[in-house]
């Protein structure tokens, strides 16, 4: 019994280059570990067996930005942390995306003071904002699926900067 019997007669699938590449990018979106506060706990929850982010090919949280495509900023970013965040972002290879998880990363949240960045979009370009304080794992997964949609709609001209 060979592999051709298992595969069946699938024939040929035609698609565009754009769609094929975008599909490949969404199905292996490796996030960089960037848990800064309580949102990180929900991010860990999204990884566990109940919510299981590995369904989307995201089971690998990379500790190095050089191996990651997506930066999930989970938590408030202080002014002292902002240069570090930017540096990690600059070290990520293209293509790369940023997801601001929770109110603090999106707009400063309850920390309207001198020490905390009022939204991480002052330092890095954000693709998807997830509301909630902290957002439940479903919220994070919804944000990731929204990002998948966004990537799926990218054109060839967007690939090259």
């Amino acid at each position: 019994m060979g592999v051709e019997q298992k595969l069946g007669n699938l024939g040929i699938v035609t698609t565009t280059m754009e769609q094929a590449v975008n599909w490949a990018r969404t199905r292996a979106l490796w996030p960089v570990l960037f848990g800064l506060a309580c949102c990180a706990i929900e991010m860990m929850c999204a990884q566990d067996s109940d919510y299981d982010l590995s369904r989307f090919g995201m089971e690998l949280m990379r500790a190095s930005p050089r191996q990651a495509d997506l930066m999930i900023v989970a938590g408030r970013v202080t002014r002292k942390m902002a240069p570090v965040l930017r540096r990690l972002y600059d070290q990520m290879p293209e293509p790369k995306w940023v997801l601001a998880m929770g109110d603090c990363a999106s707009c400063g949240g309850v920390f309207n003071n001198y020490a905390v960045m009022q939204g991480v979009d002052e330092v890095v370009p954000v693709d998807v904002y997830v509301a909630g304080c902290p957002p439940r794992p479903e919220g994070l997964i919804h944000g990731i699926i929204t990002l998948h949609d966004k990537i799926q709609k990218q054109k060839v001209k967007d690939w090259v900067k």
Binding site: R79, K80, N112, N113, Y114, A115, V116
Partner: protein
């Protein structure tokens, strides 16, 4: 008051003219800035207060005139005693002598005092900011430091604030 503490308080009243401030069994002695090093030295050497458990400050602006109160919390582990020293420091060019010669861990705490309150510590070996970024201006825990950083966005002013928000382009 504890017998052991009472002898210390009496000695301090005689030696440094310290004022006693007792609140719910906690003993505080108000000492003037020029006496603080010798007061710490005396407590450390003679009364066995080997641990500086806290060094912090309070800003009483604008209610009180010596604006800052610097608080040294000392603990004697061997004798199970605690005592606090309060030093009033005026607001214009506040300076204090360092106690790093007596308590080594005062180094970082005094850096925090400088960072947060702008109290200059004379004779400190390495007086830099400790919590805030190096190029920070002002001292955030002072009462006259502006509290908020940014106006919150509501539906009525969302677009107006959005226009002047510094978004990162790339």
């Amino acid at each position: 008051m504890d017998k052991n503490l009472e002898t210390i308080v009496r000695a301090f009243e005689k030696e440094f003219g310290a004022q006693l401030d007792e609140h719910r069994g906690e003993i505080r002695l108000v000492v003037s800035p020029e006496h603080i090093v010798s007061a710490c030295q005396l407590l450390h050497d003679q009364y066995d207060f080997k641990l500086l458990s806290a060094l912090t400050a309070v800003d009483y602006w604008p209610q009180e005139d010596p604006r800052f109160h610097v608080i040294y919390e000392l603990t004697s582990v061997s004798r199970n005693l605690r005592i606090g020293l309060r030093v009033p420091v005026p607001g214009i060019q506040p300076t204090l002598p360092t106690v790093t010669g007596v308590y080594g861990n005062a180094n970082w705490r005094e850096r925090e005092l400088w960072d947060m309150f702008g109290i200059h510590i004379e004779g400190h070996p390495d007086l830099r900011r400790i919590l805030m970024p190096r190029d920070w201006e002002g001292h955030p825990l002072r009462k006259d430091y502006p509290l908020g950083y940014e106006e919150p966005q509501f539906t009525f002013n969302l677009e107006e604030i959005d226009l002047r928000k510094p978004y990162a382009k790339e």
